[in-house]
Symmetry: C2
Subunit: 243 residues, 2 copies
């Protein structure tokens, strides 16, 4: 039976980290909110989230249904899928390293979100623009170098070589790092343009992931939506700067 | 060999979620940054974080060392410890439910942090007070009910009864929910005072955890530091309000 991925229609968002792993592993999945028909669409997703008897109720999308399991949160979903589909090392030690790296990516993504919504997700961006400028400035100056410097170091210090974040093979962490670089380049083109040279291993990894046949096919398909100002990585020129 | 817990000295912070699990399971551990002597203290923690050859380098505390493993991020550490020490259900399905719940707690804790640091962790609270007031207001009005309402529903919809978040026995998720309630009551006494009646199962769980012998002994020990305005849950009266 195909996996059912539940995520907001119309954006890449956090769902995209799951899609990349599903696409790389060529696993059948239904992107529920993007489908129409019985049990499909955003309505079906909201119905499940509002269920008054579901024992595995998720707090927010994305979540994945596999038979009678409902798995929520990107890092949790990837840990589950990675183990089943060869995108996570076999060793227990490296599995926890991978999960730790993915949780650092989770934190980075939350911080990216908060550059345009520093006060409240209930307010429009336009109503928190001053705070957004202050937060985005701090993010570009302090946090991009801190996070990307860290991931560069992880690659450089990998005893199996700098081509992968964990072990000597592709994992969902590599796919997620690809997406982070894609997103940061979209949202902060000036800031990223001035620093990419500082992260050679990370940029090489990004290039290698983009060339993988399954990823390449996905990126060229209609399933890959463009970045937009409804997603997490948003291009607001007033939030971008050369650090 | 005892586990080594690495976390900032002087505060409960994120390390406290790990301590509660270690204390409940009566597992030997060394709180490295709080000790003195060779290989101990904050210096030892920073040295490991700045290592130029460590292949499992952590992004930030807390992290746990178990022999040759270094495990970072609270949810990752708890998943590891919970499986080893009977604080996580046996079934794969429920393990992923527990991990998903813990990741929702992770998000809540990050939002609590951002009520006093909405712009940047590099700035003092006093230098981002206006934004903090706006963010804390939205947190109290929108997010506390959203998160606590969710956890109340999780308890109420647990097919094994509302005494536990997952299955029919104590797990690290229950311990973490206890800490969340403790922290929110400390940081937002007015806001919490007006809504506790809305979350009977959550409050009952909080009371039951506090009475567990190992937890009670820990809370009465010197190992349990008080909440303070250096931690994540901070009591700034100007950020508290009756919603």
């Amino acid at each position: 039976m195909a996996y059912e991925l539940y995520y907001w229609d119309g954006i890449q968002g956090r769902g995209e980290f799951v899609r990349l792993t599903l696409e790389e592993s060529q696993t059948d999945y239904i992107d529920v909110a993007r489908q129409t028909g019985r049990g499909m669409g955003t309505g079906a997703m909201l119905e499940l989230m509002r269920s008054k008897d579901e024992p595995q109720i998720p707090f927010a999308p994305p979540f994945l249904r596999d038979g009678d399991m409902i798995i929520s949160h990107v890092a949790n979903i990837l840990f589950y899928l990675g183990a089943k589909h060869g995108l996570l090392p076999e060793s227990e030690r490296l599995r926890h390293v991978a999960n730790g790296l993915q949780l650092t990516i989770t934190d980075l993504v939350a911080e990216v979100h908060d550059t345009h919504h520093p006060i409240s997700t209930s307010l429009y961006y336009e109503d928190q623009k001053d705070a957004a400028k202050a937060r985005a400035g701090a993010f570009v100056r302090d946090r991009i170098p801190r996070f990307l410097g860290y991931f560069e170091q992880v690659l450089q210090q990998n005893p199996r070589g700098p081509r992968h974040a964990v072990g000597d093979a592709i994992s969902y962490v590599d796919l997620s790092l690809f997406q982070v670089i894609e997103g940061l380049r979209y949202a902060f083109p000036k800031a990223m343009g001035s620093v990419v040279g500082d992260y050679p291993a990370l940029m090489a990894l990004h290039g290698e992931v983009a060339k993988r046949p399954n990823i390449k096919a996905y990126l060229n398909s209609k399933r890959r939506l463009p970045f937009s100002e409804d997603g997490i990585f948003r291009q607001y020129p007033e939030l971008d700067l050369v650090p």
